[in-house]
């Protein structure tokens, strides 16, 4: 029976976390998974992680794409201290492990099915008060061809 309590507790914690969280906390929830959650390979990573992080949920349309960054939150915070580009975005100095999730088929009604791509990309963020609050995209290193 303990497992039931755990399950209910997990649900309550998740719900509480989503309500009244800061922009930075929301950024971490939607975009940072470090160390990368084990046991989820390929497409399963996206489907399960997006549901666990409440990016996808019953009653919410499937988010067409979402990127998870597998680097410590501190590294992304540090990125905010780097000079911003012309659009106000800050880019990471090095590439990071990321998983880019893309909705399959296009149906925006749950269950949401995704394709996963594992990449090593620079991450571009927008910052407020020195904290990353928005993932503005990723790009390959210019040195790679």
């Amino acid at each position: 029976m303990a497992s039931w309590m755990l399950c209910i507790a997990l649900i309550l914690t998740a719900v509480a976390g989503a309500v009244g969280e800061t922009r930075y906390e929301k950024f971490l929830r939607q975009h940072v998974d470090y160390p990368r959650t084990l046991g989820l390979m390929g497409h399963r990573y996206c489907g399960v992680m997006l549901a666990r992080r409440q990016v996808t949920a019953p009653g919410r349309p499937c988010k067409p794409s979402n990127t998870f960054v597998h680097a410590p939150a501190e590294d992304l915070v540090a990125t905010c201290t780097r000079p911003a580009d012309s659009m106000g975005f800050h880019s990471t100095s090095t590439t990071m492990d990321i998983t880019a999730c893309r909705l399959r088929g296009g149906d925006t009604r749950p269950p949401c099915n995704y394709r996963a791509r594992q990449l090593h990309h620079h991450v571009r963020v927008s910052c407020l008060d020195g904290l990353p609050v928005h993932l503005a995209g990723t790009y390959a290193s210019v040195n790679e061809s």
Binding site: H43, P61, K63, P64, S65, L128
Partner: protein
């Protein structure tokens, strides 16, 4: 009972088993994404096999099951005529395992209607057993084999089996099954021989324009009563749009079509729009996201919106429509004939400059209840205009979708205020 992703393991299955045993009224059990393992299924089966169990729907996707679970599943299928739906996708059942499962399907006690075997590591060899099961199972209505590397030879064989089978198949999903144009004649035969078939999904297969042309022969057949057609990422180009147009303007049963991620381009879209102006075009939902469209086709789309009363859902995101294109679309949206209630314009190169027009649509178009503007650089100025529209009591939106748009704290405050001012409008981000 929904217990997806609850960190359950094989140990919990003993408890689950007794719950099933003591609750004969339990009709649905969802256990997706739990590490139950073959041992877990073994325990679970004790409950599932009790004579009083009248479970109808069982979900066991991504439960770490292997072929070893299939013997158990076989016995459940053979013993429980109440079970009408089995979802076991995302488990490494393999061809050998599913062959055993098929034996369960053959049992006259089995009255299964829906079988989902996506991502089960099946190969071409499974088709013989599947066909035998299909012959024996007239109750089967839905079959999903997506994401198994079946290949053309197997798919052709499967289609021939489906045509011969007496089951009134309603749904056939073969996405990402390694299908090329080679299989399309046989898939076409299913379309023209099974008036029961309402839902065909062959997305994520490189069928190309040649394959599509063959499919259209079946689609246009008078016996074909298809309602939902999924052709996303099928390597189609504008060349396919001539045949597709004929289907759109003649197949009155057709309600939902996905052409996402095919390079249809403006010329292709314009052909489709011509067809959508035909009174016989009863399409309700059209998905043309990421189809290489630009502002140039928006006039044609707008024209459709001003005459077509059937179209309710339009997904046209991930196309470089720009502000100019969207402004033209909005003209059509505002036409009284237009019954679009759900519009998706994510990542369309829309900026703040377009938001005044969009806001106007939101407060004028009472039947527009869902609008997606995700991934567009609307900036604070643009989002505030949308918020202003939401405040207007004439705005009947139910969902305003704003994923991955950057805005400042002022907008945050306004969104919070809107939660109280208009709790009926869900702003999703």
């Amino acid at each position: 009972m929904g217990l997806d992703d609850c960190n359950l393991s094989s140990n919990n299955c003993k408890d689950l088993s007794s719950i099933i045993h003591t609750n004969p009224s339990l009709k649905e059990l969802k256990l997706n994404n739990n590490e139950l393992g073959d041992a877990g299924i073994e325990y679970l089966s004790k409950g599932l096999l009790t004579p009083s169990c009248s479970l109808q729907k069982l979900w066991l996707q991504n439960c770490n099951l292997t072929s070893a679970s299939c013997e158990t599943l076989r016995s459940v299928l053979s013993a429980q005529p109440s079970l009408t739906e089995l979802h076991v996708g995302d488990n490494k059942l393999g061809t050998a395992g599913v062959k055993v499962l098929c034996q369960g399907l053959m049992n006259p006690n089995c009255k299964l209607q829906k079988l989902q075997l996506e991502y089960c590591e099946l190969t071409a060899d499974i088709v013989e057993a599947l066909n035998a099961a299909l012959q024996a199972k007239p109750t089967l209505k839905e079959l999903s084999l997506s994401n198994n590397t079946l290949g053309d030879t197997a798919v052709k064989q499967l289609c021939r089996g489906l045509v011969e089978a007496s089951c009134d198949l309603e749904l056939l999903h073969l996405e990402n099954c390694g299908i090329t144009s080679d299989s399309c004649r046989d898939i076409s035969a299913v379309l023209s021989n099974k008036p029961s078939l309402l839902d065909l999904a062959v997305g994520d297969n490189k069928i190309g324009d040649a394959g599509l042309a063959l499919l259209c022969q079946g689609l246009l057949h008078p016996n074909c009563k298809i309602q939902k057609l999924w052709l996303w990422d099928c390597d189609l180009t504008s060349a396919s749009c001539k045949d597709l147009s004929r289907v759109f303007s003649t197949k009155e049963t057709l309600l939902e079509v996905s052409l996402i991620d095919n390079n249809l381009r403006d010329s292709g879209m314009e052909m489709l729009c011509q067809a959508l102006k035909d009174p016989k075009a009863h399409l309700q939902e059209l998905w043309v996201r990421e189809c290489g469209l630009t502002a140039a086709c928006c006039k044609a789309v707008s024209s459709v919106l001003s005459v077509n009363k059937h179209l309710q859902v339009l997904h046209i995101g991930e196309n470089k429509l720009g502000n100019a294109g969207v402004e033209i679309l909005c003209e059509g949206l505002l036409h009284p004939n237009c019954n679009i209630h759900s519009l998706w314009l994510g990542n369309c190169d829309i900026t703040a400059a377009c938001c005044a027009t969009l806001a106007n649509v939101m407060v004028t178009k009472q039947n527009l209840t869902e609008l997606d503007l995700s991934y567009n650089t609307l900036e604070d100025e643009g989002v505030m205009k949308l918020c202003e529209a939401v405040r207007n009591p004439n705005c009947k939106m139910q969902q305003l979708i704003l994923y991955d748009i950057f805005w400042g704290p002022e907008v945050d405050d306004e969104l919070k205020a809107l939660e109280e001012a208009r709790p009926d409008v869900k702003i999703v981000s």
